[in-house]
């Protein structure tokens, strides 16, 4: 684990640390929901927390937002212990959107203004920002899920936060809603805000995050840069009209394994061998490839590998 935690060492500057978590644990009866978690989030990061359901993502966010009492360990916001004003500068949405159903969008946001001590003038600004100004005087309970989700993003934006925390922000939305929310997150990230996103949608994290970590059964099992995903071994997809492409490809010595998927073959490349070499080799054998594609490794693959590796090796 030590190796994994060192990624941020190059840009060490304590002032830039937004959130640092040290040895955080949470015990629910006999279940250890969070086990000695250590994390650092720097200013400007878009930090994804990945993990299967029940891995401790929401518990972690609940603790750093003071709604869940930790069993042991500490966390610091902006280099100091959380005090009564810390959360006023953080915009956070945990799980599904929570508002008073019998109040309108504006009434709900005004309560948040009072809590965060922000002028009411912000209400209209954020409602326009998320595109809810037409429905601002309608009761929250009449909203569709997408509108509810947008209202909670509006609420999180009220205080012009330096940090945003989002828990499964696209949960339960239709594809259009997902795209809209994602757009909004990227927009917010571009304005230089630090964002922490918990999700089990890997695609989402890959599209918006700069850093990510993986939790499993309350333990941190990976922590790194999203751009590092896909480095390392490459796979090449091949299609060609040949009866026994499998044997031909295996005989090439270019890849470690050759796997068949329907009408195409996937070679996991060995060392620095490239797709061009595969093409040249096939041509030499008198075979013309009609499809040749370099697969960049997706976060999903990496994630599943990390989880699988962890199951075999134990949590180290």
């Amino acid at each position: 684990m030590g190796r994994l935690l060192n990624i941020n060492k190059t840009q060490k500057h304590d002032l830039e640390t937004v959130l640092s978590i040290k040895g955080l644990s949470k015990q629910y009866g006999r279940v250890r929901a969070l086990d000695n978690l250590n994390l650092e989030v720097k200013k400007g990061d878009v930090f994804g927390i990945l993990g299967p359901n029940g891995s401790g993502k929401t518990t972690t966010l609940g603790i750093i937002l003071s709604v869940i009492n930790q069993t042991s360990g500490q966390f610091e916001w902006f280099g100091e212990k959380a005090n009564k004003d810390t959360r006023k500068t953080i915009g956070a949405i945990l799980e599904h959107p929570i508002f008073y159903p019998y109040l309108t969008a504006v009434q709900n946001l005004k309560i948040v203004c009072d809590i965060k001590e922000v002028p009411y003038a912000r209400v209209d600004e954020v409602l326009t920002q998320v595109g809810l100004d037409e429905r601002k005087d309608t009761k929250f309970k009449t909203f569709s899920l997408g509108m509810k989700q947008r209202l909670s993003i509006a609420s999180a934006l009220l205080c012009n936060p330096t940090v945003m925390i989002l828990d499964e922000p696209t949960n339960g939305l239709d594809p259009q809603g997902i795209a809209e929310i994602r757009e909004l997150i990227i927009e917010i990230a571009n304005s230089g805000k630090t964002i922490i996103i918990a999700s089990h949608l890997l695609d989402e994290v890959q599209k918006v995050c700069s850093h990510f970590c993986v939790l499993q059964r309350g333990k941190l099992i990976y922590n790194g840069l999203v751009e590092d995903v896909g480095k390392g071994s490459v796979s090449v997809e091949v299609k060609a009209d040949h009866d026994d492409l499998q044997t031909v490809l295996e005989a090439s010595g270019l890849g470690t394994t050759v796997k068949r998927e329907l009408d195409k073959y996937i070679i996991k490349m060995e060392g620095d061998h490239s797709a061009a070499e595969v093409n040249a080799y096939l041509f030499k054998q008198g075979i013309t490839a009609k499809h040749l594609l370099v697969q960049s490794k997706s976060l999903e693959k990496q994630f599943l590998e990390i989880l699988a590796g962890n199951k075999e090796g134990g949590a180290q």
């Binding site: 003071s66 709604v67 959360r87 929570i98 508002f99 309560i111 948040v112 965060k116």
Partner: protein, 270 residues
Amino acid sequence: MMRLLKIELKKVMPNRAFKVLAIMYIVAMVIVSMGVMPFFQFLKAKFTEFGADGIDPTIIPFYEFPDIWQNLTSVMIWFKMLLGFSLIFSITNEYSYRTIRQNVIDGLTKNEFIWSKIIMAGFLSAVSTLALFVLGLITGFIYSSEISFALVFSDVYFLLAFFFQLFAFLLFTLFVGTLIRKSIIAMGLLIFWVLAVENGFYVWSKVKNIEWVEYLLPVKTINSLIHNPFPKYAFMEVQDYVAWHEMGLVILWGALFYWATTRMVLKRDL
């Protein structure tokens, strides 16, 4: 403090359950402070109809200074349950909508959250005390045969006792609401506690002749801060003042419920 009251009023005022309960409470207050004499007059007319001229309920000085203060407060306190329900609603809603969690995430501390409810309880008690004072003054001036500064204000401290009764009771409902977290069950428990448990113990203690049991029953203690004044109109002896030790007990119960509620909210994960 104003910030917390502002937040709480914004949450509660547009709520339908709160509006209905508040209107019921206001109607009850107006009836109690205005309607008793007209009712007595109606009774008198009925009695005359049946030839019972000797009975004249209007000679009871219900609305006369200084009797009016003990009379009004001791009747009006029966309706405290309406305010209690509205407070139970407001606290249990926070749990069932999970808005308490969102409030804390947004930046309210757990302590501030509890205080916003306590301030609301104090606000409701203060407003109803003030309203009762104004209504009492009006009807007192209408029905009193003799008016002087001393007569009007000599027993006005019953209103202060009334304020403490309401406030302590609302702290009790706040405690029940926080403990149970489900509105229907909490209201059920409140009614069951007041009607069955406390009355049961009370009757039992009377039968066994054990005085101190009454002081272990919070709602009984709160209720008996202002003694029932009406037997005196049948020439029986009543306690026509507020006893310090009884006031002390009510404050003690209030403090206990405050402590228990705070502890629960701070210890719990939201």
